[in-house]
Amino acid sequence: MIGESPTRTDGAAKVTGRALYIDDVPFEGLLHGKTIRTTVPRGRLRGVRFLPGVPWDEFVVVTAADIPGRNVVVLIEHDQPYLAHDVVRHVAEPVVLIAHPDKGMVEKAATLVALDIDPLPAVFTIDDSVAAAAAGDAQHGEDNVFKRYHVARGDAPAALARADVVVEGTYETGAQEQLYIETQGVVAIASPARGVTVWGSMQCPYYVHKALGPVLGLPPERVRVIQTVTGGGFGGKEEYPNVIAGHAALLSWKAGGRPVKLVYDRLEDMWATTKRHPSRTTIRAGFTRDGDLTALHIAVDLDGGAYVTLTPVVLSRGTLHAGGAYACDDISIEARAVLTNAPPYGAFRGFGAPQTIFAIEMHMERAARVLGIDPLDLRRRNFLRPGDTLPTGQTLTEDPGLDAMLDEALAALGPRPVATPGGPWHGRGVATFFHGSGFTGSGEVKLASRAALEIAADGRIKVLAASTDIGQGTNTVFTQIVAERLGIPLADIEVVPPDTDIVPDSGPTVASRTSMVVGQLLDQAAQDLKLAVQAGGPPSSGPDFVSRAAAHVAAGKPRHYERQYEPPAGVSWDDATYTGDAYAAYAWSVHAVDVTIDRLTHQAEVADFVAVQEVGRVLHPILAAGQIEGGVAQGIGWALYEDVVLRDGAMVNHQLTNYILPTAADTVPIRTIFHERPYAYGPGGAKGIGELPMDGPAPAIGAAIADALGVLLPRIPFLPERILVAVDAAGGVKP
């Protein structure tokens, strides 16, 4: 069962169009909602005017004054209002909500709401933000800094002073839109009498559950959240659904409990919702003359946007991955996230790690050139090995096996392509990296996730977890894990759709944690269930087990088996000093890529891509490869095509015509190779997989472009316009 690739449980529903996404679900008496948003980046709201042209008396209208509870989006800090009422901090900030039965009427009315806002000076860069705060105009705390981390081991300044060679470089990454093809959407029914129920597209039903109580002034038991089939998330539906769910609930509350639908169109979704944090990372690295990495000083800056949202956690993961897959005993990482007057940045696959891994990997390329050492040799010389210590003090007990993975990636790529006269420039590059599985540090302990199995009257097994299948195949993998443990067919197991009235809180569907952490809970629950059903009798499986399970229930014995997370033995973390075991497990990977660059257009394209990874035991090879291939494609997009063009902090190319995703015509098949080393604390030996493939493509492609052109570009996306400028600045191509 585990290690095989059964057809995904929702496959038939999805290929026939029967799967119902939120916009497909019928509701009686539905009102269509719309969010009225600011068009200035910062200012003071003086008033709202409703211009003639629609029958306003037919509309439900909600402003901040109508909010029955607290006007804050509950997440980490309570700084973001559901609806702005005084100061507005970014373009596309919600101010007014309207709803009407006629969708066309709503759209027309949306053009007839005037927001009177006195502008205030806005900041759009990290440096301007810090300078403005220093000059007395802080918008968050005293310095506009949302969060700082300092991770240090050894004595980096002294080691830098001693180093034979010090290499310095600064690397920048742009924002990136998650671009799930199903836009954000929810339907809410809310009233003082009925409490609130929200259906929608989301990754984390219990995040939404936690947010809805405070804004409506309801106790948790009167809040219900139900996930509908979700058309992709990639982090974009981690925290943002808190906002849209709250808005729909507020409209329904004002409408006396009529159902209200809020489904963004693509223009609004791209304009207003969270994106990957832009970053700037400056690295000073000390080396011996023959290439031993002896010192690292890394300064990471993230642009957080206008509110805190999940930025501190994104920064944490970025910090913990900044040193890359290299051993260095004298290291200092200083990281900060800073406010700007942009729509808040948020979760996106990789969660800060792709930004800092881009920097360290590009820096290894730069250092190799300075030192006159082959970039692959420089990496091999410094790879983490068993017994090496990570920046937080965590000692590696297992061999990551990076040398073998690099060998295999290069072998798979084969001989270097031969350039043809007048044909494109060719280049080859690699990236070598790790990604921590699950929540950082003590995060999993604090989450204390729960998941359960339940025996139905007919002896079939129900899986109860709040973990969401957003396309990655969670439900199929859960089914496999339980089937393997119980020895029964997949068809005898049903994953109950996440509904906070029914399923326990198994934590958010993020951080590459679902298979490894929640899957392990289900595996443990299955062990408990199996022991209980067998009741000391002989081992049982298949139809016999199902009938014994039915008899077990008929006899009035317990049908519900729940497990709660307990950390693996020996894992410890200190939040105060930011030291200890940052992650319970790490997945390791090598990406190797061949690129071509057109001699006229300077457009870089991927000609071949090999991804080798060690993710513990592979539970479902097709789904696992699908995660790698999809993550790599998103990484290629971030590296080569996807440019979020900002004006006044907001995206101006917020339509698919002008925000360029690679299509099938731009894409070569991604070649995926798994090294399997079962992990003791994952179900069947699995570790996390979802985010890992996002980390490698950008630096691997950057290395390949440098290989082809002799020019190292420190900033993504590597648009042809930028490549051309860089080649010109370097005085031409010097491969």
Partner: protein, 297 residues
């Protein structure tokens, strides 16, 4: 969908006379009647709520427009509803007017090519219209029809500025005629050139697009050079200076350089969300150079 349907009307005339009458009735008030062919262009701003209330005059049911495109000798004539897919499926077009097929292949996805029309691409008069440069390169002619009568004019003369043209509000593009170029006796084959520099391989909007035709005499001297460029000026332009730089001389490295230099005076590129002024200029020069490159040996 941000447009409110009730603010719009649709007329579905079944004859040319009806269609023209509807347009003429609307002509008194600019924008009040809008011809609608494949809708692949118009429905994008319509979806976004950027089209002012109007009466769409849908041309899909007009009997006269149902005839397929036809060949008369060496002249290919398309109707108002001829799509890009229609051209791609015509084997004679592929052989004798290959630029049409090359442009159609890179014009949006198949879903767009199946609906989008050449006439609509011309009518919308976007500087990024990817169907227009190849028609300019072939020196296509338009037939415009209104209740006042018919007239023909060269496509080269049609565009007057950013999204403006000589088409009056009561006129429809009723035919596009494209003559097939033929080499003079003893002359080298007619050279045709098409290259789109887009945001990605397919389903892309042009950063720069170029299409051209070169005819030479038996001695290899250029007798006619037509080079058209998109997305580098307020209208799709004929690169007259580059053409002049090539005419009357053989295609050699110096000619190619002359074309690359001259084309700079033909264009006025800008920075926008898709590319930069400088990049577009460099691409235009490179495309002109490639257009005029010496024959491969």
């Amino acid at each position: 969908m941000r447009s409110r349907l009730e603010d719009f009307d649709v007329a579905c005339p079944t004859s040319l006379d009806q269609a023209l009458a509807l347009l003429a009735a609307g002509a008194a008030r600019p924008g009040s009647a809008t011809p609608l062919a494949g809708a692949t262009d118009l429905y994008v701003p319509f979806n976004a709520g950027h089209v002012a209330p109007t009466t769409f005059v849908s041309l899909h049911a007009v009997a006269e427009f149902k005839a397929p495109a036809r060949w008369d000798g060496d002249v290919y004539t398309m109707g108002p509803l001829t799509t890009y897919a229609d051209c791609r499926r015509d084997s004679r077009v592929a052989r004798d007017l290959p630029l049409l097929v090359a442009a159609a292949r890179e014009l949006g996805a198949l879903q767009i090519q199946n609906r989008g029309t050449w006439a609509g691409n011309i009518a919308n008069a976007s500087p990024a219209a990817d169907g227009v440069p190849v028609l300019l390169a072939y020196d296509a002619t338009l037939e415009l029809t209104s209740p006042r009568g018919r007239r023909t004019l060269a496509l080269t003369d049609y565009f007057t500025g950013y999204k403006t043209s000589l088409r009056a509000a009561d006129e429809l593009i009723t035919a596009i005629t494209v003559p097939m170029p033929r080499p003079a006796v003893g002359a080298p084959p007619v050279r045709v050139f098409f290259r789109k520099v887009g945001t990605r391989r397919l389903q892309a909007i042009s950063k720069v697009v170029a299409a051209g035709v070169i005819e030479r005499d038996a001695a290899g001297v250029v007798t006619t050079a037509r080079l058209a460029l998109g997305s580098v000026a307020p209208v799709t332009v004929r690169a007259r200076a580059a053409e002049a730089a090539l005419t009357g001389r053989p295609l050699d490295a110096r000619a190619a350089e002359a074309a690359a230099r001259a084309v700079m005076t033909d264009i006025a590129p800008i920075d926008d969300v898709r590319s930069t002024r400088d990049y577009r200029a460099r691409m235009a020069a490179g495309l002109a150079r490639a257009f005029a490159a010496p024959d491969p040996v």
